[in-house]
């Protein structure tokens, strides 16, 4: 099986303080820790597991600046065989549609049985790149995959996660693209030795010309959407903060429970 995995290098915001920068259109990037997008972490793990079982190669691709190399190296350490990074300063301001166009241009010239992406990126949460690549390459796709069974070189059976705990089982002809949902596997821990070995592997870098995209097809001009400004989400409820020592706070919580007849 030859597998391609598309990954994204993203700022980790879950536990960080996120501020708007001076342009008003982006967040203050300084001081944020970057890593592989959580969904992609499960996607690369899934690809490596299938390779270990069925043989073949795993190629990992990203669109991003040089810093994104660390995410590619992490994937190489996990067991990916090759890494490709697409980058050009002209890509600045590109939306997920442009990213999908760039990825599909490169993948078009490659041999593969299937492509994996994450369901979405944790920074922009668009969930657009995967299905658009599938459309541009004219191959079938399935999103939100929680279980992936490769039957043979021609068919896969996937379990799609729906709402409310429901799953949908779908048979898809290969080559195809699947977007991977978190929890499909348990991403492995990468050893120091693995990372060291990955440092020696080459990362192929492609510019806009190599990809075969025109300047007018990328950046804000080539995008469907552009960010006008960021703002802090308005609160839906007015939260009353309980203050004091943890003993005082605990008593206040118990008082609330009592007032609701729960103790």
């Amino acid at each position: 099986m030859n597998i391609i995995v598309c990954v994204k290098h993203v700022p980790k915001c879950a536990e960080a303080e996120v501020r708007i920068d001076s342009t008003g259109k982006d967040i203050e990037r300084h001081g944020l820790v970057y890593d592989i997008n959580e969904w992609d972490d499960y996607a690369i793990e899934e690809a490596v597991r299938i390779k270990e079982k069925l043989g073949g190669t795993v190629t990992v691709i990203t669109v991003g600046p040089e810093e994104a190399n660390s995410t590619l190296r992490k994937c190489l350490a996990r067991g990916a065989d090759q890494a490709i990074r697409i980058y050009d300063p002209k890509l600045a301001g590109s939306d997920p549609y442009v990213v999908a166009k760039a990825l599909s241009k490169v993948i078009k010239n490659m041999q593969f049985n299937f492509i994996l992406t994450g369901v979405q990126a944790e920074d922009d949460g668009s969930a657009v790149v995967g299905p658009v690549i599938a459309e541009l390459l004219e191959i079938p796709h399935a999103t939100m995959v929680k279980k992936l069974e490769i039957k043979d070189k021609k068919t896969a059976v996937v379990y799609r996660e729906l709402e409310g705990g429901l799953m949908e089982v779908v048979e898809v002809e290969l080559p195809a693209l699947f977007t991977i949902q978190t929890g499909i596997n348990e991403p492995r821990y990468v050893s120091i030795l693995g990372i060291r070995r990955a440092m020696q592997k080459e990362i192929k870098v492609l510019g806009l010309k190599d990809v075969g995209l025109d300047e007018s097809e990328v950046g804000v001009t080539g995008s469907w959407t552009s960010i006008d400004k960021l703002f802090i989400p308005p609160a839906e409820k007015v939260c009353q903060f309980l203050k004091g020592s943890s003993e005082e706070v605990a008593l206040k919580i118990l008082e609330i429970l009592r007032s609701r007849g729960l103790i």
Binding site: C13, A14, E15, E17, V18, E122, D123, G125, S126, A127, V128, G130, P131, E135, P140, A142, T143, M144, V157, R160, E161, L162, E163, G164, G165, L166, M167, E168, V169, V170, V172, G183, E186, W224, T225, S226, I227, D228, K229, L230, F231, I232, P233, A235, K237, C239, Q240, F241, L242, S246, E247, V249, A250, I253, L254, I256, L257, R260, L262, I263
Partner: protein
Amino acid sequence: MAGILVLAEHRQQQLRDITFEMLSKGRELADKLNTTLSAVILGKNIKELAKPLAEYADKVFVVEHDALENFVSDHYQSTLAQLIKQEDPLLIMIGHSSIGMELAPRLAAALNIPLATDCIGIEFEDNTLVVTRQMYGGKMNARVIVKKSKNYMVTVRQAAFKAQKPLRSISGQLVDFPYQPPSEAKKRFLELVTPPPGAVDITAAPLVIGIGRGIKDKGNIPMVEELAQMLGAVVGCSRPIVDKGWMPSDRQIGQSGKSIKPKVYLALGISGAFQHLVGIKGAELVIAVNKDPNAPIFGYADFGVVEDLFKIVPTLKKKIAELRGGGA
């Protein structure tokens, strides 16, 4: 026509809530723009399901076909592409759901219609579509301009808009529209799998304690379970806890898990991703404990405690024991 077109979602012979949320927002936009609102429903034996749509939409396109018995995006895409070409709608609204996320990006790319996903605000400003969407795990909202176009497409976040009946009575016209098969069918629906019933029903409990990433390790869960036992509460969790395999999936609260409606929901170390917040909308009162003062959960909580749950939980247990004469 240049009106607004809403894709009705249904599953197991029921219209999904997002359908009415989109019809309500769609009606508002259509009235503001002085244009028409249409809906389209695809499926098998859907005549009855189509009727409530006509209370919102001026026209309801009904696509009835055996091949549409279960949702498979290819069949929706080929048929909708045909309808969009015929009707030329200004805006196509699709749910940001397991149906819409499978369908919309690909349909948009095929028709070269600019798409904005997971929208929580949708407005037209001088014929330009401007949407609001969330980024960075709900810590930021973005005002997003969609590229000028004849047609636009959005996917709409579930539960972002209120479902409400139109102010005036509308009895739209039901119109049959032909099914258009895809050029090649490479995806086949096999079956729906319903989740096995769990040992504990978190949906009916009056007091639910939720745990999230802040719990840090599986080994810390018993501490919360003991607290729950002392209070007669049940323990639920956010998605990452189930993803890590620390709790069974029937304890997951949120969009892909369960919706709860307790008197009080005590959220411990939960940041408040939107998918989780959808599941706690029915809670009468929310108390959130999180050491990050910027955690989005505080925007949805009645009471908040900016503190480490590892300080609060043991203190709560101690105080309960004291109140019960130290015997608990």
